[in-house]
Assembly symmetry: C2
Homo-oligomer: 328 residues x 2
């Protein structure tokens, strides 16, 4: 099997999604400048990336515009100011936005018909117990003409029965993809295997792909993404330099350096990283530092690690460890 | 299989080796202070780690003492100054040193009989074409009473036939372990699978373990180490905070956070990292930055990336990429 070196060929149906601006927006309240978003957009087009998740379709009531940047709401005028008269046909890139279940999105009002938007896809994110709202959101967006996905978050802390039920419902929706989301960056290879196979079985016969969205708390985001690809996932997420909340995501530069489809080009990604993403490090911290290792290992939301890293003593690992293990 | 959650139990025969001072010595010409070595030693003892590779038994003619610190030669007096009257029996920790084939070590003169040394094991490192000298070194050290291992380096650039021949010879030696060494940090999961299985087949019936020594160019060192463990490797290497030449190694803090043998304790590792390893970052660079991603992906020695990171423009990824792809 491995003797035939499958790692030097490629699967043309594998699609890469960049969520730098969407996931990265959790670091800075989506306050990216137009130039930054344009730079990521340009890199995605030039690099042959399939989808760019340009932000959230979330509610300005819950996320007021005084505090949150345009990429939390993705109003059409803000999108067009940056991407102009973008079409997928012209660029080879499809734009998408994420809408959260649980009252965070005015999805039944905020989302235009697809033909009137530069967006082609809406990704619906929910926790397992929000699956019913997620289903409504998916069908609403589908009826507006969008591609849709179902992203069930924090599966590492959901029970078997909950995941099974959510998948059962998800498989009956019009979503084109159901995504394994490792929100806490907790999953190891064996657990990724188990979940991906479970998801694939659940969508058998449903014309749905399975996707992977990994977080890098344990320096396993790239590895888990490769694992998912090996198992047959055809939708994978990554961000430039792994920019993303907390420990960050699968780094696009590693993913595109690994994938062998000649349409993918690495240099535009490096250019974007050097000129646009690296400067962000002066202001914001992300990556698999030890506090994130610890919350990942403990299967917890990374918020305590984020507070540690943003605080006065970001490298006081012992204090963080002691308070974390005491706090059970 | 995975449903039974093997990741929450452990294999008692799995042994962890810390090579912070040995591999880290490639960053700073082995010029660690006694305090630094003592801190790593103490952490290894307290953390339940099985082996500490405290340096090299390499030649002071090739590595003059004016330039290279004591941990490049591991003279007995230097070892004892730091570890005192160490015994494995008292501490649960075995000390070892690495000797390089290829004329780098005065192994037939430099190495004391095991009963006269605090060292318990000698790891013999070679490239495939040096296997015959490696065999002599192993038998010599074995006759002196040491545990020995065979570490065949840079296998990602050796041919099938070379690896097979080297393993055939290696399996006939007295070495207790043959180690898969990913010197260039190039290996992906499928290649690790292939190599580990090949090594295991080669040593079948020879009472030898297979080990894994990963490098972190592609943020896969930890993942590849887990993979090797899943496949049955019982000897794995790691370093504190991944300290090591270039992209560094599998981080000990991730490995011990993953392993479930209750003898392993994470806190002493975090203490060592915070107090001893982190300060080294002010002076030396290591870790999976983009130049190391590139040499790893291209299956090259990391020396060009090391020069880039030590130079004036460590974050000029585009320049490094352009010069690297032009240089073929």
């Amino acid at each position: 099997m491995s003797e035939k070196a499958p790692w030097i060929t490629y699967r043309p149906e594998l699609r890469v999604l960049d969520c730098t601006i969407r996931d990265g927006g959790l670091i800075n309240d989506s306050n990216f400048t137009d130039d930054q978003v344009k730079a990521v957009y340009t890199a995605c087009v030039e690099a042959g990336i399939d989808y760019m998740e340009i932000g959230y379709k979330n509610s300005p009531k819950v996320f007021p515009k005084e505090k949150y940047g345009p990429w939390r709401h993705c109003d059409e005028k803000d999108l067009r100011r940056v991407v102009g008269d973008h079409t997928a046909k012209k660029t080879g890139l499809k734009l998408c936005a994420m809408a959260d279940a649980g009252g965070k999105s005015d999805w039944n009002k905020q989302i235009l018909p697809c033909k009137d938007s530069v967006l082609d896809m809406i990704r619906v994110a929910c926790y397992v117990h929000q699956i019913s709202e997620a289903r409504e959101m998916i069908e609403h967006c589908h009826s507006l003409g969008y591609e849709t996905t179902l992203n069930i978050m924090a599966v590492s802390v959901a029970s078997e029965a909950e995941i099974s039920k959510a998948l059962e419902i998800g498989a009956q929706t019009s979503a084109g993809v159901v995504v394994v989301v490792d929100s806490f960056g907790n999953l190891y290879r064996e657990q990724v295997d188990y979940l991906v196979k479970k998801y694939m079985k659940a969508v058998e016969g449903a014309k749905m792909e399975v996707g992977m969205h990994a977080h890098n708390n344990l320096q396993l985001a790239f590895a888990n993404t490769i694992e998912a690809i090996i198992l047959g996932c055809n939708r994978v997420d990554a961000t430039m330099m792994g920019l993303g909340r907390g420990a960050g995501n699968c780094p696009m530069e590693l993913l595109l350096g690994f994938l062998r489809n000649p349409k993918f080009k690495l240099r535009p990604v490096l250019e974007c990283i050097q000129n646009t993403i690296l400067p962000i490090r002066k202001e914001f911290d992300w990556g698999p530092s030890i506090p994130y290792n610890i919350t990942g290992q403990m299967n917890r939301h990374p918020r305590s690690a984020m507070a540690c890293r943003a605080g006065d003593a970001p490298d006081d690992y012992l204090a963080f460890y002691d308070q974390t293990i005491a706090d059970v």
